[in-house]
Amino acid sequence: MSKGAKILVIDDEKSMRKLLDISLTSEGYNVSLAKTGKEGIRELGNVRPDIVLLDLGLPDLALLDAGADDYLTKPFSTEELSARIRVALRHSLNLKEEPIYVNGPLKIDFNIRNVEIKGEPVKLTNTEFDLLKALVQNVGKIVTQKQLLKEIWGPEAVNRSHYLRIYFSQLRKKLDKYDLSDIIITEPGVGYRLNI
């Protein structure tokens, strides 16, 4: 379904719309275009797209917290864009939760809170496990700092970003033993993403 997926592009700049139209169409997507937010909303009803590409002046973090899947800052390469689109499409198709998650060398059993890498059990603390789980459940997608803090430490902890620094540092160290520290990607000022 990846090919032929419907993408709605909302951007007020003509050259940008044209570029995205050409490059995404050439990759086999079904592209529709809108100049303004208002036009975009109308198209949303007409086309029922799988993905919306929306241009914002600045990366709007509130929007991410409100449920956007991902963002890119200008200037970006079309390669990076289509990679992100592929992840988002996969994600949107794959929403149901399995009790056991396997991806490459990583195997997680959510029921018994067990993590194995390359067949070896890895000992994680409860918090480390919860962090990893939150990323795994949104694999490929940014999970904002706020979301993580709220989910794991509760709403009153949303500003204590230093918790994340300390735990991700520990978690990375444990993953590093298996050369996997790179699977957790920091999106500066925004959040974290699992890339596997």
């Binding site: 200037p75 603390t125 409860n126 918090t127 430490w153 902890a157 204590r160 970003s161 230093h162 918790y163 620094r165 300390i166 991700f168 540092s169 990375r172 520290s181 790179d182 990607i185 920091t186 500066p188 000022g189």
Partner: protein, 896 residues
């Protein structure tokens, strides 16, 4: 011996600093043509200079000129560009004023402005034209202007004495003192009179009038002398300041110190102005002193007097004097004591206002002062007030003593004691009765004023005589010893009463003085110790709130907004209240609640009058409805005054800093524009070229190649833009908002990861110590800094060599080192590598010279340090040290 005088006081040092700065760069220069009367040719000279400058090619405009219909003048005006005047409506009439905003907007190099002392139509932004001129100067425009000497504040009295004309339009002497150039426009009095008679100065019908009033020959001669002296003095002062700032000491005169003795009377203002004039001439320290007399027969200060005195002191402070209230039974002794303590060399005192009758009993203060001081010159300034008569003296002395409640107490005591004595007479005899009366006098003197004690003494003596001393029922006294006893009783009673009253009055004055000193001390110390002006204002507001229950606000003007706009933030939706506050600010007088002006207002508004301008207002909204006592409102005025002096100084400082910063940032932008526009143009040119080639090119291979080049140019352009953006973020101070706790390891890894393809030709080795504390930084800025360091290392070293990133803890600092194995940097170039736009001699093409400057900017913005040096084993190492901050609370949740 007089050596202390040669040290600069801090104020002098500041003045010199401010002076040289202002003269060197930011502000426009001020040139004043001073004349001694209308018609001497000031305007003509000004216009003449303007036309000369115009011919030299200078950008010069006419801001405001009044030709008075003089033909010569009008001819001169015609050749100059004129800024149209502003129309202001007042009382239904349309008046014309100088259009300051338009002048500043037009921004010529020089502007000509006539009549510096002019008072603007009410409702204009500034009250006085010299304030408009200040604004223009602050905008960096030179001003050439004219002034008649009689408008100088400190000359006000003398001019009045000479000419009989009260000059209402005055300007502070400081305006002239701060001018960069003062030129006297002088013609002989005869020539001026000729001009006048010819009709060159005024229209025909006004000439006769003028000749008999202001333009009398004697007047003109005196004015001319004053004007010439004044200009000579300005020259002197400039020389003086130059010598001071260059440490030249020779020309110092003997140290003079002036003391002006005043009372609350209206005459005091004349004395103060005279004192200011003398002090200015000698450029010396001076004091204005009032003595509150503690004597029982001395006139007491009413609340109005105290208010008047406070206002006199405000004038004195504005003219630069130190002010003080002394306290004692003998005015001349107190003055002499103070003069001795402060090494006063000259005393200014008013002619006695006592009547010959009073002087006979108490002597004249001036006379006694003469005999009590040595080596002090005393200037006695005649009073222009009618000599007060005895009634007046009696009223001033005793009015406050004649309280009705005291009368009741006296009568009650009289009745009670007489009745008691009547009962006791049977047991003790009539002589002992006298002692009971005496006791009553003593007791009574503790509660009532001296007037009633005298009354009580006389009446009780009569009662004693009439009812108790035989023969009863008559004022006849039979025995001689009884008569003596009765007389002794009267005198004893009066003397006792006098002594007790005196003690009570002393006590009251002492207590009042203590309270006053105490409060003023607290206010002064708040101002002296305030961290900044906001803290100071808050503290003072609180302090006033403690003494006077209610809400107190100090509202300070803002150079960027009109005062009305500032007020609207504090006074919301209350046009009436706003208008009262504006009135107080514009007129520089108290208004609103508990005053005579617009008393309907909810709050009292006291202007914050600085030495040269109104800084804002102090508003006080009372908790209780009862009006303020004189003391209380004096306290508010005094506090407002202290605060205003402080605030004006702060405001001036801020303005100077702002002007300087603006200049610096302007220069920076210029440099950036100059050097970066070239850098931007290069990739843009190639992009345009490639794009147009691609349009027609058919060869597939070449197309791919060109597309690749296009991407590369775009990438380069992107890098430049990012650098500039970061630089401007760094300089604009947006930075602090985004600091957060970060992990050093994460920071380094992310930076390296984001560089991605740009670093594929080098190996990067990362070493991070275990257990490093978190750092408080802006992640993206720091990432940019590290990326710049890594890119720099990659650009300057051969491919396939290793770049090393280390993070560690050294001497209580977090240290991040980026090193390479390249050729390093020549020692002589090392100190400059972090400078903006600096590029080493063998730098590869395509950089802006901003990369390392940004790194340094980022590090400094995080209170860190940065250095670059060549390693012993070769290669460059850049070391960043960051302070370790107090680590955040981790909470229980982390205890795993």
């Amino acid at each position: 011996m007089e050596d202390f005088s040669r040290r600069l006081t801090p104020e002098e040092a500041l003045k010199i600093a401010a002076g040289s700065e202002a003269k060197a760069t930011d502000k426009g220069k001020l040139k004043i043509f001073i004349g001694y009367a209308p018609g001497v040719g000031k305007t003509y000279s000004m216009l003449n200079e303007g036309n000369r400058r115009l011919q030299r090619g200078e950008d010069i405009v006419l801001g405001y000129v009044e030709s008075h219909g003089r033909a010569d003048t009008e001819k001169q005006i015609a050749s100059l560009e004129t800024i149209p005047r502003k129309k202001v409506e007042y009382n239904g009439k349309v008046m014309e004023e100088m259009n300051t905003e338009a002048i500043i907007k037009r921004h010529p190099r020089v502007v000509l402005v006539d009549e510096l002392a002019h008072t603007n139509v009410p409702g204009s932004k500034n009250k006085k034209r010299y304030e408009d001129v200040k604004e223009i100067l602050n905008a960096g425009i030179r001003v050439i202007t004219t002034l008649n000497v009689q408008h100088l504040e400190s000359l006000n009295d003398i001019i009045k004495q000479i000419t009989g004309v009260t000059v209402r339009e005055t300007i502070p002497d400081s305006v002239v003192a701060k001018a960069d150039e003062v030129v006297a426009v002088d013609i002989t009095v005869d020539a001026l009179l000729n001009r006048l008679k010819r009709g060159d100065v005024y229209k025909r019908e006004k000439i006769t009038d003028a000749l008999t009033n202001f333009f009398r020959e004697g007047n003109l001669n005196a004015l001319r002398e004053i004007a010439l002296r004044q200009t000579a003095q300005e020259v002197d002062e400039d020389l003086e300041e130059y010598m001071r700032s260059h440490g030249i000491k020779e020309s110092w005169q003997t140290v003079e110190r002036i003391m002006v003795c005043i009372s609350p009377s209206a005459n005091a203002k004349r004395l103060i102005r005279r004192g200011a004039l003398i002090a200015r001439r000698y450029r010396c320290e001076w004091f204005v002193v009032a003595v509150e007399n503690a004597g029982v027969f001395a006139p007491k200060w009413s609340q109005k007097d105290k208010g008047d005195l406070e206002r006199n002191f405000i004038l004195a402070k504005q003219l630069g004097a130190g002010t003080l209230i002394l306290f004692g039974r003998n005015i001349s002794t107190e003055l002499a004591k103070f003069a001795k303590e402060k090494h006063i060399t000259q005393i200014v005192i008013g002619h006695s206002e006592k009547s010959p009758f009073q002087s006979f009993f108490t002597g004249s203060t001036t006379g006694r002062l003469l005999s009590e001081t040595k080596n002090i010159a005393i200037h006695v300034i005649p009073s222009n007030r009618e000599i007060s008569n005895t009634d007046n003296w009696f009223k001033m002395t005793f009015t406050s003593d004649l309280a009705i409640s005291d009368l009741w107490k006296t009568v009650l005591m009289m009745v009670a004691v007489t009745s008691l004595n009547y009962l006791l007479r049977a047991y003790f005899g009539y002589q002992a009765v006298g002692y009971v009366f005496l006791l009553a006098v003593l007791v009574l003197s503790l509660f009532v004023s001296f007037v009633y004690i005298i009354l009580f003494a006389i009446v009780s003596a009569s009662i004693w005589n009439f009812f108790f001393i035989p023969p009863f029922g008559t004022f006849v006294i039979a025995k001689t010893e009884d008569m003596i006893m009765n007389l002794v009783y009267i005198f004893t009673a009066i003397i006792t009463g006098y002594l007790t009253s005196k003690i009570r009055r002393d006590e009251r004055l002492l207590a009042e003085r203590e309270a006053r000193t105490d409060t003023m001390y607290r206010i002064t110390s708040i101002i002296a110790s305030a961290k900044d002006r906001h803290a100071c204002i808050e503290e003072i507001e609180r302090e006033i709130g403690v003494i006077l229950p209610g809400k107190c606000l100090a509202i300070v003007k803002d150079d960027k907004k009109s005062f009305e706009a500032v007020l609207r933030k504090f006074i919301v939706n209350d046009e009436k209240e706003l208008s009262v506050a504006m009135l107080s600010f514009n007129k520089g007088e108290m208004a609103g609640w508990s005053t005579d002006t617009l008393a309907f207002a909810k709050a009292l508004y006291v202007p914050l009058k600085g030495p040269s301008e109104n800084i804002g207002i102090l508003s006080y909204q009372p908790e209780h409805a009862r009006g303020l006592s004189g003391d209380e409102s004096n306290f508010l005025v005094a506090t407002a005054n202290q605060l205003a002096i402080y605030l004006e100084r702060e405001l001036l400082k801020e303005r100077a800093v702002e002007a300087k910063e603006l200049k610096i940032s302007e220069n920076l932008y210029q440099t950036i524009l100059d050097s970066v526009s070239h850098e931007i143009r290069t990739p843009v040119t190639s992009m345009i070229g490639i794009a147009s080639t691609l349009e027609t090119l058919k060869d597939e291979n070449k197309r791919t190649e060109l597309a690749h080049d296009l991407a590369e140019s775009a990438e380069r352009l992107n890098r430049i833009v990012t650098n500039l953006f970061d630089m401007s973020r760094l300089t604009s101070g947006v930075l602090s908002a985004k600091k957060d706790w970060q992990d050093v390891g994460e920071l380094i890894h992310v930076s390296i990861k984001h560089l991605g393809k740009k670093m594929t030709n080098h190996r990067i080795r990362v070493e991070i110590s275990e257990g490093l504390p978190l750092i408080m930084v802006d992640f993206s800025l720091f990432e940019q800094a590290l990326s710049n360091l890594l890119l720099n290392a990659a650009n300057y070293t051969p491919e396939e060599t290793e770049i090393m990133v280390k993070a560690d803890k050294e001497y209580e600092k977090i240290v991040i080192k980026v090193s390479d194995n390249g050729p390093g940097i020549k020692t002589e170039e090392l100190p400059f590598v972090f400078d903006k736009f600096y590029r080493t001699k063998d730098a590869p093409p395509g950089g802006t010279g901003l990369g390392l400057a940004i790194v340094k900017g980022v590090v400094l913005a995080h209170d860190g340090e940065i250095e670059a040096y060549n390693k012993k084993e070769g290669g460059l190492e850049v070391k960043i040290s960051l302070p370790i901050e107090k680590q955040p609370e981790l909470g229980e949740l982390l205890n795993e």
